[in-house]
Symmetry: C2
Subunit: 214 residues, 2 copies
DNA sequence: TAGATTGTTAATCGATTAACAATC
DNA sequence: TAGATTGTTAATCGATTAACAATC
C-alpha cells in the first residue's frame, strides 16, 4: 500500500476520522515546537486523550506514514496530513457580518498563518460599508454574490444575526460557496454538496451545565 | 415511567445524547417564535437534519414528554429540557483573556439572555486591567483564583493565547471551576471531573477543505 | 372511529479497541 | 539481536434506525 495522497480507492473515509485529522496536525505542530522530530501513536494519543489504536487506524485510511519500532517522522506526517486536507495552498475566505464577532475574526491572525486569507468582508449596515478592517474594505451584502463569484471564493464564515442567517447562506450557495463556518445559532438548510460547520458557544455551555449539578 | 427530572436510574445518558439537547432546545425556541405551540419528532428531525427515531430515543432517556397522535407541547418540552440541562438558574461565568475575541465574547448579548452572566473578566496585560468592558472591570490574572473561589464561579471561558492556556486552565481548576469553554487551539489536560469543550475555527475550516477538492 | 404519533424493542450499522504478526 | 512500534484483523462496544404496539 503506497497510496499516500488520497484515501484508499473504494473506501470512503468516515467523517469522524476527517474531523480528527486537524487535531493530529495541531498536535504535531506543537511537538515540533517543543523540538521533537519523531513521535509515536502512543505519544499523540496521550496528548489528545485518544487511544493509540485509534490514531493508527485513522491514519491507515490514507496510507502508511510510520516505521515499526520508530514511530512517525513529525515533519513528514505533517506534510502528508496537510496534503490530505488540501492545506497545501492558500484558501480565500469571505466573512459576512462585521459586528463584534466578525471584527474579532477579521483580526484573528491565526487564519492567515494557517492558510486562510480573509479576502472579502461584507455587511449590510451602511455605517460599516466602506470601513477598512485589517486591510480589507467592508462591502455591501448587495454585491456579495457577484464579488464571491468573481473572486472564486469557496469558503465563507457566517457571522450575521440569526434572523438573516438562512437567507444569507442561500446567497452564499448561489455564489458558489462550498463550505460555510456558521456562527449563527441555527441549523442551516443547504444542498448536500455544501459543507457546514457550526460554532455555538451557548450550545457548548449548555452541554456542560448538564454535568454541573448544583 | 414518570421520572422526568433526571435520567433513568442506573442508566447513564450517553454524552452524544446530551450534546444534542441544546440543539433541541434551540429548535423549540425557534418554532415557538414562529407561533407554533405543538411539534412532532418528525418536524424537529426535519429542522435539524436528524431522524425522528433519534429524537424520540434521545428524549426517552429522560422521560416521556409527548402524546401519541399529537406530538410535543413546545413550551412544556422546553421547560423540561431546561431543567434537565440545569438551565433553570443563572450561571456566573469567568472570562479569561480580554483580547479581540474576549472583547467580542464579553459583549455577546446572547450569553445573558441564555442564563450565562459574565461575572468576572481577567487579563494579564496591565493596559487592560482596570478597564471596563460591558459593565465589568477587568482584573489581574494574579488575583483570579481568589476571586473565582470567592464568587463561587463554576464555569470559565478561556480566551488566552495558546502558550498560557494550559497553565491558566490549571489555575481555574484550582479555583474550583468545573467547566471550561476553551478557545485556545490546544488539548487541555484537566482532572476527569472537569468538563472541557473546545472551539477552534481553524480545525473546522481544515475539516471542510478536505471535501473541497481543487 | 380513523389517523397520527409516541416510546420502546430488536436489528442494523458503524466506530473503537485489543491483540499480534511484521519489521524497523 | 532485543526492544519498540507499526498497520491490520477480528472482537467488542455503542449508536442509529426500522418497525410496531400502544394510545391520544
Amino acid at each position: 500500500m503506497t497510496d499516500t495522497n488520497s484515501s484508499k480507492i473504494g473506501k470512503l473515509v468516515p467523517d469522524i476520522v476527517v474531523s480528527r485529522l486537524p487535531l493530529y496536525l495541531r498536535t504535531l505542530t506543537r511537538l515540533q515546537e517543543e523540538g521533537k522530530e519523531v513521535t509515536s501513536s502512543q505519544e499523540l494519543a496521550t496528548r489528545l486523550g485518544f487511544s493509540s489504536a485509534q490514531i493508527r487506524k485513522d491514519l491507515s485510511h490514507f496510507g502508511e506514514f510510520g516505521k515499526q519500532g520508530t514511530g512517525y517522522h513529525i515533519a513528514f506526517l505533517k506534510d502528508q496530513l496537510k496534503t490530505i486536507l488540501n492545506l497545501d495552498m492558500m484558501w480565500d475566505v469571505a466573512l459576512i457580518g462585521v459586528g463584534d464577532l466578525g471584527h474579532a475574526l477579521a483580526n484573528y491572525g491565526r487564519f492567515t498563518r494557517k492558510g486562510f486569507r480573509i479576502a472579502a468582508l461584507f455587511d449590510s449596515d451602511p455605517k460599516k460599508i466602506g470601513t477598512i478592517v485589517n486591510g480589507v474594505t467592508v462591502q455591501a451584502v448587495d454585491g456579495m454574490i457577484d464579488t464571491i463569484r468573481q473572486k472564486g471564493i469557496r469558503i465563507a464564515i457566517l457571522a450575521v444575526p440569526v434572523n438573516v442567517a438562512q437567507k444569507t447562506a442561500e446567497k452564499l450557495v448561489e455564489a458558489g460557496v462550498r463550505a460555510i463556518l456558521n456562527y449563527a445559532p441555527i441549523t442551516l438548510t443547504v444542498p448536500a454538496e455544501v459543507k457546514v460547520q457550526n460554532i455555538d458557544p451557548i450550545a457548548h455551555l449548555q452541554k456542560m451545565t448538564y454535568y454541573c449539578k448544583r
